[in-house]
């Protein structure tokens, strides 16, 4: 009986996917539904929650700090996309080139920052970008006669520090994705192209970039998500969730502030639902445009 069940071609696949489905339901669907419900309630820990209709959402629409957080997250995401897709691709191509010197060294050197904890990295970047004359970046600027800059107190300079941290940390990871993509491109194509007289630049744009498309789409998708969901980097860089003038406040940071710091979990749930909507809309549009939903034609 059990043997029949296990060997049954119809049942077996479901048995194998069951662990995933269970995890998905318990840790994803259930919290999602429950926070959707919470977003229509006034929830104070330790006390009865009560239903307040769409009040949380109407309050959210008039909340300037929330929009500031959305803007910060969006700008951060765009900047990381602009930097963390083309450059890792370029470096991957360079490192993949057999003429390149010390390839293995660069591969691991680029990847190393990803192994450090964000907490440590954030703290070190906070000290590096400190506003005192003696902090690393300011003392370098000092050599060129630039006055000390209060990096973490200005919108633009604060973002320079934030994006520098993201670049340093994620460059190597994205580069590895591209490297693995490059390994799948057969050398024959390049040989054929060079016999036909294609320049190195042409080979890059006509062969490498199109054939890396699946990798690029993957990196793009996770970068959009990571960019919009960023929180710890900002928290560590500003030593807490309350940056001056909220220059480093992200959507998740705002969720944390409302839900955990101010005990307003219902409102925080509404913030979370809006974040989910934004991320879904952007990613689905992006995936649709890049043709991921079309049936593969081979």
């Amino acid at each position: 009986m059990i043997k029949n069940f296990l060997y049954s071609q119809k049942v077996a696949p479901y048995v194998f996917v069951l662990p995933f489905v269970l995890v998905f339901i318990i840790f994803w669907i259930y919290p999602l539904l429950s926070s959707f419900g919470m977003s229509f309630q006034k929830v104070t820990l330790g006390q009865e929650a009560h239903f307040i209709g769409a009040d949380n959402y109407t309050k959210l629409m008039g909340d300037t700090i929330f929009f500031k957080a959305v803007r910060n997250s969006a700008v951060y995401m765009l900047l990381t996309l602009v930097i963390l897709i083309p450059f890792p691709m370029l470096f991957a191509v360079l490192i993949n080139n057999k003429a390149m010197w010390a390839r293995e060294f660069f591969k691991s050197a680029f990847f190393f920052p990803a192994l450090t904890s964000v907490v440590v990295a954030g703290t070190i970047f906070r000290l590096m970008f400190g506003e005192m004359e003696g902090s690393l970046i300011n003392s370098i600027l000092g050599v060129f006669g630039v006055e000390p800059v209060k990096f973490l107190k200005g919108q633009t300079t604060g973002f320079i520090a934030l994006v520098a941290l993201a670049t340093w940390r994620w460059m190597g990871v994205n580069m590895l994705y591209f490297l693995s993509g490059l390994k799948n491109i057969p050398d024959d194509y390049y040989e054929a192209a060079s016999i036909d007289g294609a320049s190195a630049f042409q080979r890059f744009t006509r062969i490498t970039v199109p054939l890396l498309k699946p990798t690029t789409i993957y990196v793009l998708t996770i970068s959009i998500y990571a960019g919009l969901a960023m929180f710890i980097e900002s928290m560590m860089l500003w030593n807490g969730n309350n940056s001056p003038k909220n220059i480093g406040l992200t959507i998740v940071g705002y969720l944390y502030r409302q839900g955990i710091e101010k005990n307003n979990l219902g409102y925080a749930a509404a913030v979370g639902i809006v974040l989910l909507l934004i991320t879904m809309v952007i990613n689905l549009t992006q995936l649709a445009f890049s043709g991921m939903f079309k049936k593969e034609e081979d």
Binding site: T44, G46, F111, G130, P244, K245, N246, N263
Partner: protein
């Protein structure tokens, strides 16, 4: 060969990742824990205690020894966990309100206290254990942590705000701090200091409200009205910030790294002698002795300057209430112990000896042998004796209320408004009006 090396690197990295995960999940409280024995026997009850100030643990250690010696049948072992400020309050609020994982005893900072009193407080009322000490301790300090006549937290100190002057810098500039009475005097002195030494007389705080509070207290005003409603764009508040802005425009005060004197970055700036004055509650003394050792023998304590002669020269700033949670293992034992460790005369003497705080039992302020003990580290460090100043201003210590709106008011002023005014030079009236709108919106 090269490939092999890369694979081993990947394996190594994965192990590191896994090790990282394991570590963070086993260390659930996220802080540093240690169990204080205090000479307790085997039958002692173990109580847990969370705090965000390491020094508070040292005080409890001393009081624990005395308690265990005096109460052999009710001995206690104290499991102390020190966590960073935000972390501790966030974890505590979730633990206390869900009723799972809360410690028996905890420290809650004054600015966060109203959050814990919201609705139906999940803390034990302490009226019965505080009763015997009424009359010996400052009543307003008990009221500060109360709701509807119930006391929920036991205060640590009065926190009388004073001026800390770096006499070395002032002497170089030929300024006598004793002659500074009004803010006008302070401004003149500051201009002289900046011209002679190129150093700033004081700080323009952007991440704390000590300065705004002390200036409001001088004018008998507050951040909230009689009903506890926020009012941050009052004429008093505008007068206070306009005065500070004028000092900044004349290079008397300047913004400081960290945003206020009680931050790591600022300790460094003060220690290297870049700022001559800090206006802080008296507990800032312990920051001097612990983090600014180079200034030993150079710092003098004096009453605050005032807007007009005759105004009150101090206010009680900051504070920590020690609470007992409803889920405590042995509620009565915990309550008796914290009352003993915070309110008894012994405790108040130790609070001065160990922590350098101004105790809430004011009879200690008159005990010359305690306050002027030549072996005391704080007496040694400072140019003059802090209690000479405290006794001079003891009738002038005003209070800024802590209401349910206070955490939001603080948050808006310290993250947005003060930065806009002192870093970006935004119009004061406009900045404060915006702050008022923002606070009302958030409290809706």
């Amino acid at each position: 060969m090269k490939n092999k090396w890369f694979i081993s690197l990947m394996v190594l990295s994965m192990i590191l990742f896994l090790a990282g995960c394991g570590k963070s999940s086993s260390n659930t409280s996220g802080g540093e824990s240690s169990v204080l024995n205090g000479g307790a026997g085997e039958k002692a009850t173990e109580l847990s205690y969370w705090t965000f100030v390491e020094l508070h643990g040292q005080h409890f250690e001393k009081m624990l020894e005395k308690w265990n010696a005096a109460n052999p049948d009710r001995q206690i072992k104290l499991n102390v966990t020190v966590m960073p400020y935000d972390d501790m309050h966030n974890k505590l609020s979730i633990a206390v309100q869900t009723g799972v994982g809360a410690p028996d005893i905890a420290d809650i900072e004054l600015g966060k206290f109203p959050d814990f009193l919201a609705g139906d407080p999940q803390l034990e009322p302490l009226n019965d254990v505080a009763e015997p000490y009424k009359g010996t301790v400052v009543q307003s300090q008990l009221d500060l942590y109360s709701k509807n006549g119930n006391i929920y937290g036991l205060s640590t100190h009065v926190g009388a705000t004073v001026a800390f002057y770096n006499t070395e810098i002032l002497e170089q500039a030929g300024v006598d701090y004793k002659s500074i009475v009004t803010w006008e005097d302070f401004k003149k002195a500051g201009i002289q200091v900046y011209e002679k030494t190129g150093k700033y007389m004081g700080t323009a705080d952007t991440s704390a409200t000590w300065q705004a509070s002390l200036l409001l207290a001088q004018q008998n005003s507050d951040f909230t009205d009689a009903d506890g409603k926020p009012q941050v764009n009052t004429p008093e508040m505008i007068r206070a910030l306009t005065m500070l802005k004028d000092l900044q425009d004349n290079n008397v005060i300047a913004t400081i790294a960290g945003g206020q004197p009680d931050t790591e970055e600022a300790y460094g700036e003060f220690n290297s002698g870049n700022y001559a004055t800090a206006f802080m509650p008296l507990w800032q003394m312990s920051r001097y002795t612990n983090y600014m050792k180079d200034l030993s023998g150079k710092i003098a304590i004096a009453p605050l300057p005032v807007l007009e002669k005759g105004m009150h020269r101090s206010y009680g700033g900051g504070g920590t209430g020690t609470v007992v949670t409803k889920t405590a293992k042995d509620v009565q034992l915990a309550k008796d112990f914290i009352a003993y460790a915070k309110l008894s005369l012994d405790a108040n003497i130790e609070i001065w000896n160990t922590l350098g705080f101004d105790p809430i039992n004011m009879s200690v302020w008159d005990m010359k042998e305690v306050t002027h003990n030549p072996d005391n580290q704080f007496v040694k460090y400072f140019v003059n004796n802090p209690f000479d100043v405290l006794n001079e201003i003891r009738e002038e210590i005003n209070l800024i209320k802590s209401t349910s709106a206070s955490p939001t008011i603080n948050n808006v002023l310290c993250t947005v408004t003060l930065n806009e005014i002192f870093e970006d030079g935004k119009d004061i009236q406009k900045a404060l009006d915006d702050a008022q709108t923002q606070i009302e919106q958030e409290l809706k």
